[in-house]
């Protein structure tokens, strides 16, 4: 134990955890909390589900840390676990989301920002989960298709098709929302 070094690499922290310094895992959690939380939040559509899945992903990663073959790529490995957890939690979150009705006019603030935020969330939630996943990984997390393929287990061609469909569907839905 001792003072944590902010500049410590992922690999060094992973090795410390593997040798019994459980406290070092707190550094990894803090390092990836917000970034992975963003993906989970957009994927699942609400903060409660996102935090639950995120916590689960961190705990599962800890349990499996001995199987993290390349500690230098801990972040990508952790990302893969989160993507899988989001897939599992997705249907439950989707059922909950259906209880909400899209009504931009009722939610719009004076500057319109609330309406836009709500519209984006609404459109994102209506995408099929595979398309939403591909869209977020490509356009929000800005991953290369090869990295997306490693994370999701899908082929590059399939991922490109999902992203293309997601873009088209989002465009259509935003047109629809503008008519409301």
């Amino acid at each position: 134990m001792g003072i944590r070094n902010v500049g410590t690499s992922d690999a060094a922290l992973v090795r410390r955890v593997q040798t019994g310094d459980t406290g070092a895992y707190a550094d990894l959690v803090a390092r990836y909390r917000d970034r992975l939380g963003r993906y989970a939040l957009h994927m699942l559509g609400n903060r409660e589900d996102a935090e639950e899945v995120l916590q689960d992903a961190f705990v599962r990663a800890y349990r499996s840390l001995a199987r993290c073959d390349d500690p230098e790529r801990f972040g990508a490995w952790l990302y893969g676990i989160l993507v899988n957890r989001c897939r599992t939690a997705g249907p439950r979150a989707a059922r909950r989301a259906r209880r909400f009705v899209h009504d931009p006019a009722a939610l719009a603030g004076p500057d319109g920002r609330t309406e836009w935020d709500d519209t984006v969330r609404w459109a994102l939630a209506r995408l099929p989960s595979e398309s939403r996943e591909a869209f977020l990984l490509k356009h929000v997390e800005e991953l290369e298709y090869e990295d997306m393929a490693r994370l999701t287990g899908a082929g590059v061609s399939a991922l490109k098709m999902r992203v293309k469909r997601a873009r088209e569907q989002l465009q259509t839905m935003l047109k629809e929302a503008e008519r409301v």
């Binding site: 019994g20 310094d21 459980t22 707190a26 995120l54 916590q55 800890y62």
Partner: protein
Amino acid sequence: MFEPVDDVIERIARHLRRPVRIDPALDGRVMREITALPTPGGATALGKAWGWLTRPHQLTLTPLGGLTVAAALAVVVLLSRMDSSAPGPPAPPQAESRAFQFVLVAPRATHISLVGDFNDWDAARTPMRRAGSEALWTAVVPLAPGRYHYAFLVDGSRWLADPSAPVARDEDYGEPSSVLTVGGGGS
């Protein structure tokens, strides 16, 4: 006229790329869960040496409204056995000390000391250190078997004790404190 697809998508993507802030208390919840688990990669010699010997003694502090400490929680874990099991004459009692890690989640604190019977309640002797997370503070103390009163001193003036841990009956200190019992043998 609608925007071209690429412009719409870029606008959505920019919106979704904005940083998201997840409650730092999540760090504490994760740490509470994993302290109950075996050390990953415990097959290494060092891992074994530092492996958990028992389930953790876990303490939870409720948020104290109006205090500088928000959503605070604490975990005390047995880090390792410090004595040796090598053959030879029995070790003296003080050689049976084990390292205990005290973990406190206190996102708004600027300084925390661990005080207790083990350091004569001296706030200068065991300052807690941030563990990377802006919310997480840790300190490790070797403890021989015995019964210890302890508390967290936050920002030099606020005492925190654990409501879910045994409360110290001793009123000598006039401040809340908790009790940690370190058993002998392997427990």
